[in-house]
């Protein structure tokens, strides 16, 4: 059964590298990957914070937030 993976970013260089490598490496047989630009889509900030996202880029897999390197703090995107 496929579950949802959400990749949160803010367009920063660190985010782009993570998207091109990590987000694209996710197994499409296991996950539907959604990419959310928190700088542009601020309505998703609350949901990201609820999942435990503290900085971008980050990927939420099965409800757990994994921060990938460090691009920007989520508090700087508000």
């Amino acid at each position: 059964m496929k579950t949802k993976a959400i990749f949160y970013h803010a367009g920063c260089p660190v985010c782009v590298a993570a998207e091109q490598n990590v987000a694209n490496a996710i197994d499409p047989a296991k996950y539907d990957v959604e990419v959310v630009h928190l700088g542009k889509d601020k309505s998703r900030l609350k949901e990201a914070e609820s999942a435990g996202v503290k900085s971008v880029p980050a990927i939420v897999l099965d409800g757990t937030a994994f921060h990938i390197n460090f691009g920007a703090a989520i508090t700087d995107l508000k």
Copy 2:
């Protein structure tokens, strides 16, 4: 063509969570995932550092190091 992905960890709780989620989410059609325990296999430390790994857990995809959350600094594993 498959390339190699190397997941470096040190057995810490943060590492285990990252392995179960992120490493297992990697598309096996794109990558051969190798899991390296740097606490046990210190001979791999140099190679990990050369790839830019500064802390574990981390995954190296196409030669680029992506640090996932923070378990331990690589300098603490020596």
